[in-house]
């Protein structure tokens, strides 16, 4: 899929061809539909859909958003219509577009993850699965797995057996050692990693003394998270040999280039989509110009450049 917009920008990860390395991250682009009025979905490198669960899920009560310095707290809490409706309405619709789709899968138990991932895989309509084991907004499921490499690996192995699509596991930087986590998840059969999810955080309205979010805590995204994401990618890229999709606070082509130089094979734009629906495409273009200016034949040459000593 994905005819390259410029040969220099084309990348391939897990056998999937992207016209450019700029994806849109889960939960920040709806399921594509909301943004299809704003840009040609075929112009982004890939779409990672919003978390889908076995049953419809109402999500957390509002308020669900709070803006913090250079960041956003959200506690959406996996609101989605359940895997059946997702397949019939959203994924089928997305398939009209010439763009690779990662489906972000969440659950409240092992069995749910396995069931949903299996259904996605069987549908034949997705290019890859992204296992969301790091959502900070649900009591069970989310951070439970991502706080223990053993649990994360166990779930990865179970899901891997149920699918025949590339399986990406999405990690959180809220962990003692993200390297260990990544290594265990790779050993358990992950085909790729998504780094990083929002970071658990909180804000209080001092006038009332109450939490800003009805759910009390939420996930921090946006530029505030970016330097944490760069380090996560840098650390993990040294210990795994599966592809990494880097994300966290990408606000310009420089941020995307940083993640790639740190070791990401592709990059996902998240919160910025809310400000500029065309951001992923625009950043891809800018990244192409940068690569051209530096004399790179392919943006892939940026991947891991820092480890190789930088631009010489």
């Amino acid at each position: 899929m994905g005819t390259p917009q410029e040969p220099r920008l084309a990348v391939e990860i897990s056998g999937i061809n992207l016209r450019n390395p700029l994806l849109v991250s889960s939960g920040t682009f709806g399921n594509g539909r909301e943004y299809s009025e704003w840009l040609d979905l075929g112009m982004v490198g890939g779409i990672i859909t919003k978390a889908v669960t076995l049953l419809p899920c109402n999500g957390n009560p509002p308020p669900r958003l709070w803006e913090v310095p250079c960041g956003l707290l959200n506690s959406i809490g996996l609101e989605n219509k359940g895997v059946e409706a997702f397949l019939a309405e959203d994924l089928a619709w997305l398939n009209r577009f010439d763009v690779p789709v990662w489906v972000n899968v969440a659950g409240f138990s092992d069995e749910e993850y396995v069931a949903v991932a299996g259904m996605i895989s069987d549908s034949g309509m997705a290019d890859a699965i992204e296992l969301n084991i790091s959502c900070p907004n649900v009591k069970q499921g989310g951070l439970h797995y991502s706080s223990s490499p053993r649990e994360a690996a166990r779930l990865t192995a179970m899901v891997q057996k149920a699918v025949n699509l590339p399986l990406y596991v999405k990690l959180s930087a809220r962990t003692a050692d993200i390297k260990e986590m990544a290594v265990e998840v790779q050993k358990a059969g992950a085909d790729g990693l998504s780094l990083i999810n929002t970071f658990p955080a909180m804000a209080i309205d001092v006038e009332t003394g109450r939490a800003r979010l009805a759910n009390v805590s939420g996930g921090l995204s946006g530029p505030a998270l970016h330097p944490i994401a760069v380090l996560a990618v840098w650390e993990v890229a040294q210990v795994v040999d599966i592809p990494i999709i880097g994300m966290g606070g990408v606000w310009s082509w420089k941020d995307a280039a940083e993640l790639m130089m740190a070791g990401a094979d592709a990059v996902a734009v998240g919160t910025l989509n809310f400000v500029d629906p065309e951001a992923a495409f625009r950043i891809a273009e800018d990244l192409g110009s940068f690569a051209a200016r530096k004399g790179f034949e392919s943006v892939s040459e940026l991947v891991g450049l820092t480890r190789r000593g930088g631009i010489v």
């Binding site: 509002p62 913090v68 109450r210």
Partner: protein, 266 residues
Amino acid sequence: MNLGSKFSAPIIEKSVYGCLTRVVFGVDQAYLAEPGQFLHVLCGSEDGRILRRPYSLFDTASGTASILVKEAGPGSAWLARREVGEEIDCMGPLGRPFSFSIFDRPALIAGGAGIAPLIFLYKNMCSEGMEPSLFWGIERSGDYGDMPESILAEFQVRIASEDGRVGFKGTALELFTSQQPEDFSAIYACGPRGMLIELTEIMIGDRRARLQLSFEERMACGVGACKGCVVPASDPAGSYLTVCKDGPVFEGKELDWARLKSRVWQ
């Protein structure tokens, strides 16, 4: 309903009415928007704010679109202080507008800065030959500069002020209920959440169906993608509707008023 777009528009006019600043953007001649829809504006940031800010459209006319900005915090303060000539990054028009039938006898009830979409609606209704009644409640007479006077001159409007120095002494709702509310076959309101909730408490049962209320919630995307700006839907499953896409205008019966009341708005 009009599809929104992202565009950069120059400010071509600015006027201040007390706490409200009318900002007029120069837009495409073909620009169309309906009352109740909003613009999602990127406000400059000196303090690390990253999100856009939603503003109801106040009017659109050949090649212009305007909003009324009330300073509520840093984003709106930034916007209110822009000068004529500056280019502003906007997305819109967004959201579900008010809808009306020319056979209705409508009451339009505005609380404070909630006047913006209702004047727009009022004008559209008038140009369809309707005779809407507009009720506007303000806190103190001076708060909105000479806007009350100029609106009074132009429109069929009744003003209520809490200090009683212009029009009726009391709130917009008190004024409205003093006016045979049952005479109106459709009611349109925009204002503080408390006012909207009170209104639904007056309009119970079937009468809720006649209500169209414009809601506010903190927004991120403004286009229905993030599910951040939700209000509780009246469906028994406890689901939510997005203010930005399913709203900002809702019919009274679409929302779960009991849950809405318990929402902690900050």
